[in-house]
Amino acid sequence: MNKLALLVPLFPLIGFLVNGLGRKSLSKSAISVIGCGAILASFAISVMLFFDVKTNGGTVTTLFSFISADSFQVPFAFQIDQLSVIFLLIITGIGFLIHLYSSAYMHEEEPQHFGRYFAYLNLFVFSMLLLVMGANYVIMFIGWEGVGLCSYLLIGFWFKNDNYNYAAKKAFVMNRIGDLGFLLAVFWLLFKLGSASYSDVFANVSNLSSGDITAITILLFVGAMGKSAQIPLYTWLPDAMAGPTPVSALIHAATMVTAGIYMIARSNILYTMAPATQTLVAIVGLATAIFAATIALKQNDIKKVLAYSTVSQLGYMFLGLGVGAYTGAVFHVMTHAFFKALLFLGAGSVIHAMHHEQDIRRMGGLRRYMPITHITFLLACLAIAGIPPFSGFFSKDEILTAAYTQNPLYYYIGVAGALMTAFYMFRLYALTFLGGFRGTHEQEHHLHESPWQMTLPLIVLAVLSTLGGFLGIPEVFAADAHSLDHFLQPIFAESTRLAEHQHLGTSQEWLMMGGTTLAIVIVILLAVRRYRNYRAAETENTGVSKLLEHKWYVDELYDALIVNPLNALAGFFKNIVEKSGIDGLVNGAGRLVGYGSRQLRLLQSGQVGNYILVMVLAMVVFILIWFNDQNIMRFISKIF
């Protein structure tokens, strides 16, 4: 069973190689079969691994020694345990659905680009699998970088548009900033413990001083900030909408952004032992959740709204990690993967039908034309808003309850964010699917339901979004019903032991759930009522609305504070230091050699007489040097 784990990343890698190398010769259908088949095979093996882990527990498989220097060893090893197998299922399962969806969505591309697209997708999944399966931080870092690379490639997939390239670069640079933190943390661990393997690190964590742990965890968290788009490194994620919509779904649901969550959940022992970092994580997560939610309220691009909602939901996950609800965070990753993939794929379906129109103000009334998309999208909105019994309710509730036990203030802010989530999601829903159609006649004429490759994933994901929450039923409803918690028990056992947990009274928990749900329902009704018969107002937004519409001017702030000074500095170096300084030096060296050789060449005149003259003079000089004697000098001075 151990060796089976190797196949999981192997299939996407093979798919990547075949599609990448054969993109010019393979037909589109062959490419999509290979691309989807590779992920499906991985998924099948992941399911087998899941049942294996469920009965036998986790295992570590070493392939070969990756770095071997004296006593310092980094094996290339895979760790299959409860945590990684959950992520494997999410990545390969959702990944497969997205691949299937892509085969229809991207069908208008040329075969060559179609192959490139699937090659990138497979590589993306491969990197993410490597990240999740690695048994030490070094392997995780390989996957971590691979994911960053693939996101760059996919965001800039339509590389003929310069804005998209800019967005891709932005994502890459933002990720690099985070990666540096991650890398430093790994170095620190290696320096202190001499090993980066999870088992070694977690076993020897008590040997680290509290200062070390705090520093390492903060640096790791910086890495997570970049990958999982937290304040202050979140701005790349909304811009990442430049890529094709299924890519957004892949980035937001199955891969990439969940890497940060996975990494912190994996390092839960370190974080539990660093309360200061935990507080930081919770505060940053909460701030991101509320901040992104406010921005999402006023966005008009269907994908931008979803992007900010992802940032916001990721904030909730970090809040969960920060308050020690690791299971809750993983649970939310899972449910979020379901409904966010569904939302993006639904949005993709809408965009596909609207011929790449993304502005929700020009949509409306689509429920008549696209019934499957409409129903599934509605289910996803209900799930993300947190209406019981949809999946989002359970996971978000678990996080918020845990936050309440830590600090009631977290809870109230979190609930405010959840209300905003409900509002902007149903604003989006109402603008898109309710009311009358606001687009052009031509667009209306072409409206159609998407093909089965696109609707099938929507249906599957809708079922998962609806029922996925029952994996983690709170204690309040039924004792011992939280199966995910039981499954993940071995991973978080140590943290659970270290952190004291207080439980809320049953009645209080009921009260909180009831109150929140009621508030959310009211907000949803408000949103639907307000935007159902939306007419495009020509008046420009003012005050807070304008601030929100422009995303709090964060991009402009970054431009002014970081980008522009750096550009100015780069310009200075380019125009002054390089042109006159370095170029002058380099060209000067070249010119000097050229000049010297031109002068030296004149010595080679071919005139035999000159050669002999020089030869005689050289003889004189050599004799003088060889018999460097006072007598010669005395004699010479006597002559003259």
């Binding site: 007489g609 003259l613 005689v616 003079l617 003889m619 004189v620 004699f635």
Partner: protein, 167 residues
Amino acid sequence: MSVTEILFFFLSALAVFSAVMVLVSKSPVHSVLWLIAVFFAISGHYVLLNAQFLAIVNLIVYAGAIMVLFLFVIMLMNLNAETEPQKHMWMKLAGVISGGCLLIILVSMVRQAVDLPGKTALMKEGNIGLIGNLGKALFSDYVVPFEITSVLFLSAMVGAVVIGKKE
């Protein structure tokens, strides 16, 4: 001052004067004639040193054969003072100065040599320069090099023919 010394200085002066005249003569034919004078002076030195065989060989080979060859070539090419190519004045000066420097350096080296004073070259006496003794040495100890010189001559002859022949 003995007759030997007088002869030595006379021959030395003649050699140096003739050598200088080789250089300064405008006409190549004159140069050749002056060079023959130098060879005669040197042969005189050989006689003084009682190296009679070499004195005769020098006259026959150098002054006779080689210089006649030179003269023949010059006459063949019809070279005379008018067609004589002249070097630039500065080049001549540089050549003289560097040659003078070399002379000064070499002379100063000889002057400071510690084991030369008191050594003399045997004049008039000693019979190693006689043809009989040289012939014995040449055909006993040095017979192999002597035979090999014939190969050298053969190759020189072939070379001269190959180079000189018309294409």
